[in-house]
Symmetry: C2
Subunit: 214 residues, 2 copies
């Protein structure tokens, strides 16, 4: 089966299933059922079964899923059997926080380059990485085999830096700039919109308050 046939909503849930299964492995569970996975990720069993059915037959009715087999399959499916190389572009406070983010290495990602355009930062080492110039992005990305660029620059320059990243041949961008960026059809952008997360929470708060006032 081709990855493009899996619905994008399912793809977005796969990392949380992988997390749940890794947690089951840590607790030495060899089999989990869809209800247990659902409880770990805050979903329901029918949704879990439907999502996992896109990946093939890894469950046994009435028994559950073989944890090790499903973990191996999800890792292969998510394309993280081998480490993916990540570059942090924009080394302000957010970029520096992301570079030190503890969750990356254990989840299959390796920060191989950090870039900025501030002459005071370029050439200085931070946590084992020397900050390199955004102007040299093509050479840097090519030398470091960058798979994914994490964009942590101000909104005003997000599009021009994105254009440079795309010109350097990177096909996947995680955008933390508080603005949308345009890319060609063969490049995938995820927009890590922190304020949007807060808006979703605000919506839930309003719902709670409406119910409390009913």
């Amino acid at each position: 089966m081709n990855g493009s046939q899996v619905p994008s909503t399912t793809v977005r849930r796969l990392p949380s299933y992988l997390q749940a299964l890794l947690s089951a492995q840590v607790h030495r569970q060899s089999v989990v059922n869809s209800l247990q996975i659902a409880e770990m990720v805050g979903s329901n069993a029918a949704q879990v079964r439907k999502d996992l059915s896109y990946l093939g037959e890894y469950g046994t009715r009435g028994v559950g899923y073989d944890v090790d087999a499903l973990v191996a399959h999800l890792i292969r499916w998510l394309g993280i059997e081998e480490h993916r190389n990540v570059a942090i572009v924009g080394f302000g406070r957010l970029g520096s926080a992301l570079q030190g983010y503890a969750g990356f290495a254990e989840r299959g990602f390796r920060v191989v380059a950090v870039l900025d355009d501030d002459p005071d930062k370029i050439g200085r080492p931070f946590d084992g990485h020397v900050v390199q110039a955004i102007g040299d992005v093509e050479e840097i990305f090519s030398a470091a085999n960058v798979d994914i660029a994490v964009l942590a620059v101000p909104a005003a320059v997000a599009q021009s830096v994105t254009d440079a990243i795309v010109a350097a041949g990177v096909k996947a961008i995680l955008n933390f700039a508080p603005t949308r960026v345009e890319v060609p059809d063969d490049v995938v952008v995820r927009h890590a919109d922190v304020a949007a997360e807060l808006q979703v929470l605000a919506f839930h708060l309003s719902s709670l308050e409406r119910r409390a006032n009913d």
Copy 2:
């Protein structure tokens, strides 16, 4: 209509529609159709129409949506007519980056408190906020009327800090710690899982590579 009747997948898309409509306002468009909104958010017109239909009748067939009316309605619906008060709990690199995040104020959020448990940080001012002690969370949240807590502490203490936040009466948490946290049923947690975003991108890369090798 009660907010709880809107599907959660739709709720997650509402902030991006609001962003698109605010962008249309900036460009002095008074009417936009579902296709234009879809293009701005990277969706399709049918999905946009279906999502917005949950909010009531704001579109005119063959014409489009009244931008100002729909913006006002989305803002009301998302519960951000008034600023929501946000506390940053954990003032390491990520907490400090989040505190300075440019997207908050313009999207209806105000950082009213920052907390940490490091004696070297407590009592020191950063960008207009004096860092306060996590141990005083109940008094601080009550005094500052905190609506949403942003959790930016290490994974090892995420659950105990969450318990303290919940005990302080906060009903909405945005969790940046690279681990899941448990909360009572009346508290909403969004898990801002940066590594999961990278895993989704890795999956798309694998799909691209599979197609290129076909």
